[in-house]
Point group: C2
DNA sequence: GAACGCAATATTGTCTGACAATACACGTCA
DNA sequence: TGACGTGTATTGTCAGACAATATTGCGTTC
């Protein structure tokens, strides 16, 4: 009764022969992690896995599995343990596992087929610019390299974005930028300052008038998180940086694209220097 | 017996008061879509919703809902119909709905809380650089604007990425680039040519040595999809473009960053021109 | 002995039904 | 009028079952 199966034009990406690592535990040995949990008292649930209290089960699961993948426990091409296995490992229902896996599939970390299982997609498919993936990615290799990569990316993006902002910002967008800049100067704690700093750069991205630049804000947030956590800054450093920010604000306000671009380049060079002398 | 609930430090993002559109149908009226489906004969399932044969139910659902959101049927802040409603609307189980919603949550299109429901996140949170979101986004506004935005983005990214590639490409990466370039020249159909073209640009991104540039390949793919679909190109156009590509390939091969960057700028200018005279 | 076809099988996909956790909404009471 | 407790709607989680599917290995045939 079903109509003829239409021919799929696009050539199917066959999973080919994927490495079998089905029951292989992740590289690190975690044997003593589940001590005498067998026959745990009834009523006590979920003895394993970091259960963050405020978070949902599937959310935590997705983080756990996602982190493992990005960290390299399951290299691309590897077939993951099946859903039942995860379910057992973490003492959660299969539904929760499936929802977690669906989230990772949405980020292109995984793909799956019936009878095959779920496998790790090649790294170039990963959506590294996703907020979560980026966070996982940021924790795994040495932060040094990560920060360098992000910073390099900022060099590519931000000068041009700022130039566009100088050309196209609306009054409202300008107000956001100016306010963030002012709040940076008025901040009394480094944390407060960093927050304002982040808002400043994000506001510029939004003002650039190119929708596709906005999602790159996660990179800036990530960079600042790490900068905040791993660098301490002297007072005159901060004063100098503040002046650089104000120069950017001014040039956007006066709608001078080239000057704005140059000002951002200066700021980034300054940031580079701070990182290097970390 | 549960330990005291730890204080959540990070200030909670309260959903505040979200617009209530729970039972509001999407803007477009679709009333006569479900004709006399009441009491459908047993065994016949899923009369509603585009059921793409090869795709999974949750996948199709995610596409359908995601498209509606990106298209603007449910503006940011809107609370979506609840899971039971979707389940009924599309005649699928709640599990399928939930998995679809989880996928959209992973792309930051949605967020949800018990008792509240799922609401559309503010647009600046959307992960527009996600392959699916981008595809949905590409269909909704007039393509003109979309293509312009993507093209502008390419102007920001590709020259710098190519310069980096010229500095850091490995031999293997160079081989990929060269091969794609050759295949472009040898292509016998426009489709084949476009595929090789895409591969060429993606290979350059990979060769840039910056992991964060790689996911931007989806933009290039998207741009080429649309260029392929909406422009026809004359033969000497193609010859000219081929020479521009070969210039890029050569400069990467000879490791001349500045020349490579300039060559890419030329190619992009040419593409701009093709688009304008579309 | 090799090639082909077919069935067994393992895994994801989907459905159903139930209960828990939660936070808004309302009515009650001081 | 305001504070407080209760009702209730919605997502979150669980459990168990069956369907769909593609690989794997076996058997059959040439």
């Amino acid at each position: 009764m079903r109509p003829n199966r239409p021919v799929v034009l696009d050539s199917f990406r066959k999973p080919a022969f994927l490495k079998r690592m089905r029951d292989a535990k992740p590289n690190k040995e975690k044997s003593p992690k589940k001590p005498a949990a067998a026959e745990r008292p009834a009523g006590v649930r979920r003895p394993d896995a970091a259960r963050i209290p405020g978070a949902s089960v599937h959310g935590s699961l997705a983080s756990e599995i996602g982190l493992r993948i990005v960290r390299g426990d399951y290299p691309p091409g590897t077939i993951l343990p099946n859903e039942a296995k995860w379910s057992e490992t973490f003492s959660v229902s299969r539904s929760a596992v499936r929802e977690a896996i669906k989230m990772l599939m949405a980020k292109s970390l995984l793909a799956s087929r019936p009878k095959i299982g779920s496998w790790v997609e090649p790294k170039e498919r990963w959506n590294l610019l996703d907020r979560d993936v980026l966070a996982w990615y940021a924790t795994s290799p040495d932060r040094e390299v990560f920060l360098k990569t992000v910073q390099e990316f900022r060099h590519i993006i931000e000068p041009e974005a700022t130039a566009f902002a100088a050309m196209r910002r609306t009054g409202e967008q300008m107000a956001e930028i100016s306010q963030a800049c002012r709040e940076m100067g008025a901040a009394t704690s480094l944390q407060e300052r960093t927050r304002a700093d982040t808002r400043f750069h994000l506001a510029i991205l939004r003002a650039s008038g190119n929708d596709l630049l906005v999602p790159l804000g996660v990179l800036i947030e990530s960079a600042f998180d790490h900068l905040f956590a791993y660098t301490t800054r002297a007072v005159d450093d901060l004063n100098h940086a503040q002046k650089l920010h104000e120069a950017i604000e001014k040039n956007i306000r006066l709608q001078r694209p080239d000057a704005a671009r140059a000002a951002v380049r200066k700021l980034l060079a300054n940031t580079d220097h701070v990182i290097k002398s970390r």
